[in-house]
């Protein structure tokens, strides 16, 4: 019985970008995290309607120092991550983990800056609804930075010394996507938490 066949053995087994299923998986994660962050922002604005003064009396607007530095650090970190991404596409192991170490360092700086940022909020999570929503927004983004940095460390360890396979370059490539999301959403969280207290 002669049936027409479609031979696919010549097709590549390593692809990058939107061709790779893992890319879509990470985009799915970003949609979920993005929706969650957007809803927390919506709750922030909704609660704003219950206050005459924002932030409420007795709570100073948050100091901008640490947060602005954090903004610079995170936006700057996009550059080395782009290098990691290009190195991964070229499957160049050394430049990939070198650039990744820079990103990890910047991530660590960002995490370190979070401590003064939480103090800069000028209130506790249980002071009032403003404190609750501000701590939650900042806390959520900090969790993203933490998980993404831990993931970077894991990938760097794999690139440095682990049993690396060619398919892991795709993981490094899509991990850059998640980092861009983390750095990008910081602008929204920064505007909301630190500038929102002044303009809203």
């Amino acid at each position: 019985m002669r049936r027409a066949t479609l031979d696919v053995s010549a097709l590549p087994s390593l692809v990058f970008g939107a061709r790779a299923p893992i890319w879509w998986g990470v985009v799915g994660l970003l949609l979920i995290e993005g929706t969650a962050l957007a809803l927390v922002a919506a709750a922030y604005l909704y609660l704003r309607l219950n206050f005459e003064a924002w932030p409420p009396p007795g709570t100073p607007p948050p100091r901008l120092g640490a947060a602005t530095a954090d903004l610079v650090v995170l936006l700057a970190s996009v550059l080395p991550m782009a290098l990691v991404d290009r190195a991964a596409r070229r499957e160049a192991r050394r430049p990939a983990w070198l650039a990744l170490l820079v990103v990890i360092a910047l991530g660590a700086v960002s995490l370190a800056l979070r401590i003064p940022e939480f103090h800069a909020l000028g209130c506790r999570w249980d002071s009032h609804a403003y404190g609750s929503v501000v701590w939650t927004t900042l806390g959520m983004h900090t969790a993203h930075v933490l998980t993404s940095t831990v993931e970077n460390v894991l990938l760097a360890a794999l690139l440095l010394a682990g049993p690396l396979e060619r398919k892991h370059y795709v993981d490094v490539h899509v991990n850059a996507l998640y980092w861009y999301f983390v750095a990008g959403t910081w602008t929204l969280v920064y505007a909301l938490v630190f500038l929102g207290a002044r303009w809203l």
Partner: protein
């Protein structure tokens, strides 16, 4: 398409043996716990969901027993509140959404001609997380720590001030588990449907059931975060004194209702949309013709998906919102009746112009049409603000949502179970038992829920554990309770049919119904790798138009490799090796489970969970053993 001599008989046998070896799951308990096969995980999901359905059904019977006559002292208010809350929460979070996603995870890979879902291990992780969530709720309930503030847990009643103890915390954490599982399955179905279709299955050749699952999965991705944010806020309010819902400190009790119903209404469409997919498959198979108006049906599904997010405020018409807002949401709530109408009209046209063969699965689809039209119409009624002010939070609404959820989703689901049981178990269910279970269920359902329309208009509010004799509600409630008994008999008949089939049903073979989609081209029950050679599709009804399709060759049989195709017109793009079985998904689910459950008692549970997750996720991610993809063939 190169015409190369098809692999001859023993070449195919060799490939079949190699594939069986590559895609096999290790034996024994360890194998059972570590499987990543989409059919194994999906079957467990469906079985667990139906166990929870039975448990919640027993609770419904107890509630009906308590309400059978006025001022009954069978059950006190405290236990009754727990029972109706666990009944609602189990049906919505532990049965309806998971079982629809599980049917998707079972059927989508088979219907689009691939061998597994996109991320097999994550799929297993999703199931274990769901199971832990279900266990948490039911063990707590049996320990008298079941939530007692309703499946929607409105604040401030569910807040720290008026809900003492850990009951509502159990509910909030159960939500976290079930929503993680739902999101995982959602992403699985989206990526599998977009990237793993067999060659030739362009967007306009995707079966309607797969379209329904895709729309559901996308709705899950955008709806579930709302309930996770809301339940996390509630848990924080209750455990670490945040003030999201504290009116005295700037919080807002309506914030909870907005966040909950922004998830709540899409959730009921997440449950309903896959049911339309089942009905389309059933009607296509038993009207012996392709579905009428395929493009209209797909557009109806997509518009239902979008519109579902635009009408959540119709649950809050009685909270005194501004007039303009209410009219907008009345319009949106009425507009969503149009896509549903389109689907019903297309089904009717298909039936009208087909040569109908009546079998038990089709009866459930026909029963669905009758019940869903009634439910949809009462939906249009409560969409209008003036009438909703009379009907809101009464038994009229209880009748409405049981007509659209039981009539609109459970009936098609039961029809789908009967339709695909031969494929899952290899044996045919009993036709007479199927018909009898439908008849008893249909009569019992109407007997139970139709009188509730009248009870609601007579002033009976929801969630009352008893009522006074002089209210005049005794007759309707007794009738509803009797109907519930009949419905229970119907469920038992259906369960008997399912239990009887694997043992003594007649062998079904690959295609007992002569249906049109790809899953009927593989043996029943399908082997672990589904297709020896992936099919090439040339039409919307592959088995009817090209019974012996062209096949894809060249995929490796020594590694679990699948073909990844382009998202739009499914042209082959590259070969992709999937992960095999592993224990890490179970361990990761346990790690997150321990963290979330301990977090009920102390906030440090979150840190404990984070540390455990770090360990298990590292274990899951860290590659071990022979580098699979870099084998000699690749380097050559």
């Amino acid at each position: 398409m190169s015409v190369v001599a098809a692999p001859d008989r023993d070449g195919e046998a060799h490939d079949r043996a190699a594939l069986a070896l590559t895609w096999a799951t290790p034996r024994g308990l360890r194998g059972w716990l570590s499987t990543a096969n989409h059919k194994a995980v999906a079957t467990r999901y469906v079985v667990s969901a139906f166990v929870f359905f039975a448990l919640a059904g027993v609770l419904a019977l107890i509630m009906r027993l308590q309400l059978a006559w006025p001022e009954s002292r069978l059950i006190g208010p405290d236990l009754y509140n727990q029972i109706f809350t666990v009944h609602g929460s189990t049906m919505m979070f532990l049965f309806a959404v998971p079982v629809m996603e599980a049917m998707g995870i079972y059927l989508v890979p088979l219907m689009i001609g691939t061998r597994n879902v996109a991320f097999p291990r994550m799929n297993a992780f999703g199931y274990w997380t769901y199971l832990i969530g279900g266990g948490l709720l039911w063990i707590a309930f049996l320990l008298n720590v079941g939530p007692d503030t309703g499946w929607f847990s409105y604040v401030p009643l569910a807040g720290p001030a008026y809900a003492a103890g850990k009951r509502v915390d159990i509910w909030a954490q159960m939500i976290t588990f079930t929503e993680i599982a739902a999101l995982v399955a959602g992403v699985e179905i989206v990526v599998t449907t977009l990237k793993f279709r067999c060659p030739g299955m362009s967007l306009n050749r995707i079966p309607l059931l797969v379209w329904a699952m895709l729309v559901m999965a996308l709705m899950v991705i955008f709806a579930m975060p709302a309930i996770m944010i809301a339940s996390t806020m509630l848990a924080m309010d209750r455990l670490v004194d945040t003030h999201f819902f504290n009116p005295a400190e700037g919080g807002d009790v309506l914030l909870w209702q907005h966040l909950f119903w922004f998830f709540g209404h899409p959730e009921v469409y997440i449950i309903f949309v896959p049911a339309t997919g089942f009905v389309s498959s059933l009607i296509t198979a038993f009207a012996r013709r392709p579905i009428f108006g395929y493009p209209a049906m797909v557009l109806a599904l997509i518009s239902t998906g979008f519109l579902g997010f635009g009408l959540w405020v119709h649950h809050m018409f009685a909270t005194g919102l501004p007039q303009l807002g209410e009219s907008f949401f009345t319009a949106a709530s009425m507009m969503i009746a149009i896509p549903s109408g389109i689907q019903v009209f297309c089904w009717l046209a298909t039936l009208r112009s087909g040569r109908i063969v009546v079998r038990a699965p089709l009866l459930f689809a026909l029963g669905f049409i009758a019940l869903f039209v009634l439910g949809g119409l009462t939906g249009v009624m409560v969409a209008a603000v003036p009438f909703d002010l009379q009907a809101h939070d009464t038994y009229f609404v209880v009748a409405h949502f049981h007509y659209v959820l039981v009539g609109g989703a459970v009936f098609p689901l039961l029809g789908a179970i009967l339709f695909w049981l031969p494929k899952m178990t290899g044996r045919m269910p009993s036709e007479s038992l199927g018909r009898w279970s439908f008849a008893v269920l249909f009569v019992g359902f109407n007997l139970t829920f139709f009188p509730m329309h009248r009870l609601g208009l007579a002033g009976m509010p929801r969630r009352v554990y008893t009522y006074l004799a002089q209210t005049g509600w005794a007759g309707g409630n007794l009738l509803a309770s009797a109907g519930a008994g009949v419905m229970a008999v119907g469920v038992l008949l259906f369960a008997a049919n399912i239990a009887w089939t694997p043992g003594r049903g007649t062998p079904a073979g690959a295609d007992p119904w002569g249906a049109d989609t790809l899953e009927w081209s593989v043996p029943s029950p399908p082997p672990a790798y589904n297709f020896v050679y992936l099919p090439v599709v040339e039409s919307r009804t592959p088995l009817w138009t090209t019974p012996t399709p062209a096949v894809v060759t060249g995929l490796r049989t020594d590694v679990p490799e699948v073909l990844v195709t382009d998202a739009i017109d499914a042209t082959p793009d590259h070969r992709h090796v999937l992960d095999g079985p592993s224990m890490w998904p179970l361990l990761t689910a346990l790690a997150s489970g321990i963290g979330v459950i301990v977090a009920i008692f102390t906030p440090w549970g979150v840190t404990l969970g984070a540390v455990l997750l770090l360990i298990t996720l590292t274990g899951w991610f860290w590659p071990r053993g022979v580098p699979v993809s870099d084998t000699a063939r690749e380097r050559a």
